[in-house]
């Protein structure tokens, strides 16, 4: 499964609030450190499992813990059409 940011959805650094945000049609999502770490790895080519192992290494956390969290996060965004999940 390969996550993709669809047209009209992009990451942005909000310098006024000092926060990474996801800008989307009529939506602004303030991202925490983990949310930003996940979405900044979404490049339309990297599969979820590769993304998970990269995050696990960076955050020194077990893949078994990171995997379900990442899947839940991306699936939630996909239901709102803020991320596309390609087979």
């Amino acid at each position: 499964m390969i996550p993709v940011l669809p047209p009209g959805v992009r990451l942005h650094w909000d310098a006024v609030r000092g926060s990474h945000v996801l800008l989307a049609p009529e939506r602004v999502l303030m991202l925490d450190e983990v949310g930003h770490a996940i979405l900044s790895r979404v490049d339309g080519a990297t599969p979820v499992d590769v993304l998970v192992s990269g995050l696990a290494a960076d955050f020194a956390a077990p893949v078994e813990e990171v995997g379900p969290d990442v899947t839940e996060f991306l699936t939630g965004l996909a239901l709102e059409r803020l991320v596309d999940l390609h087979a």
Binding site: P7, G8, L23, P25, E26, V28
Partner: protein, 367 residues
């Protein structure tokens, strides 16, 4: 308890009304009844300055609207300026005036998203409501061009008594056009719509059915189509937080540079609005009297002041209180906890024998 000491947050969104000009003449247009003329409009260079100030203030998204923004020949330059300032550029358009060539130029300028309005799903009624023959066919062609250009599309439909029964077809149309989102907003009775309220007010049966259809469509189309539904105010029991709370999240800039807390604020008598040609945007947002007037909870009368929902709906819509009760600082008459509700119920009862669409007053400049 009201708290006037809380700091004012920066705004997130700005509605930029680039022009009041529009080839359509919908009888529910949200523009003021007294429309600004072309000579009064800010130039693209002035808009670029406003965008820079807005971004520095904390605005993240600019909604480029009108009138019809494509009526401006320099729209491409304005979109480029919005992106240059670091803003998310959302175009709110009827589609009339856009061609595949212009769409390509807008994409090249950095346009992030298009919100395309339709007046219905049936050409005959949609064109009648818009007062523009052939408009529906033009919109369908524009939607195809937007899809071909790979731009994110939201379909927007304003609903009222004469098209609310087309709701399921709106969802089908949105998916067929490749929209990822659809906004179905029942007419808000401000501006031209207020003049046509009796003609446009849906019936209670229509509203109940629409709510059911929306719930079903959300379940059936989950993950394909995001559905935003704005039910009609008059049939609700509790008010909405207009603008997410006055002067808390967004601001509007009118075609001539007047800065407003909401698009209908100019109907409120005695209120003074600064112009971005003369006063910096940050000064207007943080210290302008119009923004301070109904911000937070200090201005509230009872029963809002001691209500547990005072920071949920912030007393509702000021312009609606004015339109229905003649007093902008009264609680929103939608609220069942307030005495003003009786007046709203009386209006609804009187609108039971409503006139047909032919009785509507279509919008026009100098009308």
């Amino acid at each position: 308890m009201p708290d006037g000491s809380r700091p004012v947050p920066p705004p997130i969104a700005m509605l930029a009304e680039l022009t009041h000009r529009c080839p359509l003449s919908c009888p529910y247009c949200s523009n003021p009844v007294d429309l600004a003329r072309r000579e009064a409009e800010l130039t693209a260079g002035q808009w670029a300055d406003v965008f820079g100030q807005a971004a520095a203030l904390g605005v993240l998204q600019v909604h480029l609207s009108g009138g019809e923004p494509a009526s401006r020949r320099d729209l491409e330059e304005i979109v480029a300026a919005a992106r240059e300032a670091g803003l998310y550029a959302n175009l709110i358009t009827s589609g009339v005036g856009l061609t595949p060539e212009r769409i390509a130029a807008l994409v090249a300028a950095g346009m992030d998203h298009v919100q395309l309005s339709v007046q219905g799903t049936r050409a005959e009624t949609a064109d009648r409501v818009g007062g523009y023959r052939g408009g529906f066919a033009r919109k369908m062609a524009v939607a195809e061009a937007i899809a071909a250009a790979g731009v994110a599309l939201t379909l927007n439909a304003v609903m009222h008594r004469h098209n609310l029964d087309e709701l399921p077809e709106i969802f089908d149309l949105a998916e067929r056009l490749g929209a990822r989102r659809v906004e179905v907003a029942c007419v808000q009775f401000q501006g031209w719509a207020l003049e046509n309220r009796a003609v446009l007010q849906p019936t209670r049966d229509q509203v109940e059915k629409a709510k059911r259809l929306v719930a079903e469509a959300r379940a059936a189309r989950q993950g394909r189509l995001v559905i935003d539904f704005v039910p009609p105010d008059y049939y609700a029991d509790l008010p909405k937080a207009c603008m997410g709370g006055w002067g808390s999240t967004g601001l509007n800039v009118a075609p001539d540079g007047t800065v407003l807390p909401c698009h209908a604020a100019q109907t409120i008598p005695g209120m003074v609005f600064a112009n971005v040609r003369e006063v910096p945007l940050a000064e207007i947002w943080y210290r302008g009297p119009a923004f301070a007037a109904f911000r937070g909870t200090d201005w509230m009368p009872e029963p809002c002041r001691s209500c547990d929902r005072r920071e949920v709906d912030f007393g509702g819509c000021r312009c609606q209180a004015l339109a229905v009760l003649g007093d902008a600082s009264a609680p929103d008459p939608v609220c069942r906890r307030t005495p003003g509700r009786a007046r709203l119920d009386q209006l609804l009862a009187n609108e039971g024998n409503a006139p047909g669409l032919e009785a509507a007053r279509w919008r026009r400049i100098g009308g």
